[in-house]
């Protein structure tokens, strides 16, 4: 009898004591978490993409509750989710603006020259350290796909040597824009506007030497524009998206056909 009682009592006793201790500790060491925070964290997509500017979805949820962060900062939010969170917080749901990433380079394999053959890691930052990368143009997309790897949503692919964004998949989280060593990727609102598909600040003659599809800073677009929305600075055309109406006059006039109407 004693052989059974000893282990049963001692192990059972340990378990009881520890159980009681844990139960007690769970009350004493309770950390108060705002209920709303948990509810909002459940509604948030949970992708932890960081597009909102916070460390992750739960950090964003706590920022919404504690710091009154804008709900619309999350690019993945659908309208239903938005209103669900708004009702938890008791505020009006704002209107969400869809943003996508765009790559400002047109220099596909056939039109852009290379200055050397690159054998190494498939990583743009590494390649960029070797004389700015293999591309003859110092501003162009290296096409090694660091942005495509970084994209949590599989929205970027390398097509004909340059990164291409699938606008349906892109949520505008800026992960790609932050990693591009050439700073070619911008994240902007989706609306009809002209987009200059080049980032080269070289002079026209230099551009012509290295790429057939580069902005040469000829200022024809500037002259054609009726809304004062496109200007050439540093040999590169820049669109003022507030003024641009997307009429397409500049795109037609561009001798290099590098302006796109989105």
């Amino acid at each position: 009898m004693i052989e059974i009682l000893v282990p049963a009592l001692s192990v059972g006793g340990i378990a009881l004591v520890l159980g009681a201790l844990l139960a007690f500790a769970s009350v004493v060491f309770k950390v108060d978490v705002d209920e709303r925070e948990e509810k909002i964290a459940e509604i948030l997509p949970g992708a932890n993409c960081g597009g909102c500017g916070y460390a992750g979805c739960s950090a964003f949820a706590s920022a919404i509750v504690n710091e009154g962060a804008e709900i619309t900062k999350c690019n993945l939010m659908t309208d239903e989710k938005l209103s669900a969170i708004a009702s938890i917080m008791g505020v009006e749901a704002g209107k969400k603006i869809k943003k996508v990433a765009r790559v400002a380079c047109n220099g596909t394999c056939s039109v852009a020259k290379e200055k050397y053959e690159y054998y190494g890691l498939d990583d743009c930052a590494t390649a960029a350290q070797l004389g700015g990368g293999a591309k003859a143009c110092a501003y162009g997309c290296l096409g090694l796909g660091s942005c495509a790897v970084k994209c949590p949503f599989g929205a970027i692919s390398i097509v004909d040597g340059i990164a291409t964004v699938d606008e349906n998949k892109c949520v505008g989280c800026s992960a790609c824009a932050n990693i591009c060593p050439k700073g070619l990727i911008t994240v902007a609102e989706v609306k009809p506007t002209a987009f200059v598909n080049c980032a080269s600040k070289d002079k026209g003659a230099v551009v012509n030497n290295v790429c057939e599809a580069g902005c040469i800073g000829c200022k024809i677009c500037e002259k054609k524009c009726e809304f004062d929305a496109i200007h050439v600075t540093d040999n590169l055309a820049k669109v003022d998206s507030d003024k641009c109406t997307g009429c397409g006059l500049c795109a037609e006039a561009c001798p290099k056909k590098i302006i796109e109407i989105l």
Binding site: V6, S10, V11, I14, A15, L18, L21, A25, F29, V31
Partner: protein, 193 residues
């Protein structure tokens, strides 16, 4: 003097000669699981150190005062104690030191099922270490674990950027390097004091 010497010898034995991961092959799961980055490996190492020392203290007391007459209960009692201890520590740290909690993060609860922790407590008991000795041994053993996992994480970070035949990429090459590291640690077997 001889006590200091004993302690030093014990520490070197626990860290190198009897390295838990590379010589005794305990705690392989976290060793392979969280060794992709030096940062996370260090986090795991610190969490293991924390839990190992606390667990040895508690299990030594349990063994000495509760189940002294029934040594066959050691395994089950120790598992119970370690699991509860990790839970308790997690709650306590979350309340008392939130910054440490967020640094240790997921690693703390993971250690509940780490056999290295159970292993160190069993060894303490089997070798009849005194209370102080068992604390010291488990601390050194945990440092050995941390050394192994951080070294291995360094190797794996290098592997990420080296050219590896396709069929060896990922886990195969990690296992091979772990084996080589283990062979290297076997060299410490020749140490004599």
């Amino acid at each position: 003097m001889s006590i200091i010497k004993d302690f030093l010898v014990l520490a070197i034995t626990a860290m190198l000669v009897e390295n838990f991961v590379l010589v005794k092959f305990m705690g392989i799961c976290p060793f392979l699981g969280v060794s992709k980055k030096i940062e996370t490996a260090t986090g795991m190492g610190i969490a293991v150190t924390f839990v190992m020392v606390a667990a040895s203290a508690l299990t030594w007391l349990v063994n000495e005062y509760i189940i002294a007459n029934a040594p066959y209960l050691q395994t089950i009692a120790f598992i119970l104690v370690i699991a509860a201890l990790v839970q308790f520590i997690e709650m306590f740290v979350r309340k008392a030191v939130p910054s440490l909690y967020s640094a240790l993060g997921i690693y703390l609860p993971l250690i509940t099922t780490n056999c290295a922790v159970l292993g160190v407590t069993m060894i303490n008991v089997q070798r009849d270490y005194s209370f102080g000795m068992s604390l010291w041994y488990s601390f050194a053993a945990a440092l050995g674990f941390m050394l192994a996992i951080v070294l291995f994480a360094g190797v794996r970070e290098r592997l990420e950027t080296s050219k590896i035949p396709k069929y060896l990429k990922g886990f195969p090459i990690a296992l091979i390097s772990a084996g080589l590291l283990s062979i290297a640690f076997l060299g410490f077997q020749g140490l004599s004091f």
